[in-house]
Amino acid sequence: MSSSDHSRVSLRRAFCSVLKRELVLRFRRRQELAGPLLFFALVVVLFPLGLGPEPQRLAELAPGLLWVAALLAMLLSLDGLFRNDYDDGTLEQLMLSPHPQAPLIVAKVLAHWLVSGFALALFSPLFSAMLGLPWQQWWAVAVTLALGSATLSLVGSIAAALTLGVQRGGVLLSLLVLPLYTPVLIFGAGAAQLALQGASIAPQLALMGAMLAIALGLAPWATAAALRLTLSD
């Protein structure tokens, strides 16, 4: 029934449309856009309040604290990745699209990463400075965060898809996802710590890159399968 003047919708167009829609939605609700970043900032503020303000000690702990805060910010924003779309039925419709599902999911995850992990990495120097980290080390935190958070987004999307069916899935989600996040956390925080001591972090970065490549290769398919599963429940 498709008339002859209709052109096939390219996968690229579908991908861009999904990406654009996600970004529009987030930009329209400002507080959602700034969300992970604000949460990150708030958690960073909590540490000195809870641990006491000695600058020397804070600077020592800074890479680890920043990584833990970033990880929590990613985690918190993860539940929203599919849930809204699930509740109003647009996820169902996305999965009914004739396009292959994995790339469309990558578009959603990419949007999520841009406003969470990428934004965190971009602003991390500010927080590094506030915690008294020497400025030579700021970039180490930023680069490990950017690389690591992309892996976190991808891996997290699987768990987010699996817990969709659960009403308040937030907690189950953290339970599923945090164990998967630990390798990234250990290497990320470890690399930033190493940089603080002046060592080269190239091998760590290479390893994190490899983790990202694997996640990019496998996670979208796993997420698609998980989504089909929860949608048919």
């Binding site: 498709s2 999904v18 829609r21 939605l25 329209r28 647009t90 009914l96 004739p98």
Partner: protein, 217 residues
């Protein structure tokens, strides 16, 4: 020519209750099937199975003569499914919602933008195109979903209670659109508890709510 969609020995049970079993039917282009039955008899479940969203069933399904795998990818480009959830994103405007649907479709009309405006005009949302959907009434939100019927031609419409929240004039219109689609060679499967008043031939699949069924296509 093989039938568009056919089922052989289809059966499904949920929570140890048989909803239907040994269901056979075949739907041709230009046919309409009204799926009837009391609450909880399995209409939604059937539609989810046919659209490839629910895989726990017995029996075989065929789309244009080829067996459907459990994920029904072959079918998706030709299918328009409208479920209990309207599939409309509250934070976007009506136009943006439709644009998203166009990009997810298999084919694209050359005048895609104009079509969006026309579709909204057709469902009576002129003047509400640029309001985010959350600020519309229940019926207006459903109408945004119904605008999809006018976006791209799709062979098979699967509509699960499309009349929900639609006012009397809207119901009349929608009935006309359904009949037109059937008459122009499309196929329709629809559930509704509202008495369907259609010109032309209407097929039935009736569930009795106790596991029995009756097909008349």
């Amino acid at each position: 020519m093989p039938a568009l969609l056919s089922a052989v020995g289809l059966g499904c049970e949920r929570d140890d209750r048989v909803l239907f079993s040994a269901l056979d039917f075949s739907l041709e282009a230009g046919q309409l099937a009204w799926i009837e039955g009391p609450n909880g008899s399995g209409k939604t479940t059937l539609l989810k199975i046919l659209s490839g969203q629910f895989a726990e069933y017995q029996g075989q399904l065929y789309w244009q003569g080829e067996q459907l795998d459990r994920h029904a990818r072959a079918l998706r480009g030709d299918l328009l499914y409208l479920g209990h959830h309207s599939g409309v994103k509250a934070g976007l405007t009506a136009l943006e919602n439709l644009a998203w649907y166009q990009a997810l479709a298999e084919y694209r009309a050359p005048n895609a933008e104009q079509r969006r405006w026309q579709a909204l005009e057709t469902v009576g949302l002129r003047g509400f195109e640029d309001v985010t959907v959350e600020r519309l009434s229940a019926g207006q939100q459903r109408r945004v979903a119904l605008a999809r019927l006018h976006l791209e031609p799709r062979l098979l419409w699967i509509l699960d209670e499309p009349f929900t929240a639609i006012d009397a004039a809207g119901v009349k219109q929608l009935e006309r659109w359904i009949a037109q689609h059937r008459d122009s060679g499309g196929a329709v499967m629809v559930t509704t508890h509202h008495p369907l008043e259609l010109s032309g031939s209407v097929g039935h699949i009736r569930f009795d709510g106790r596991g029995g069924h009756h097909v008349e296509l």
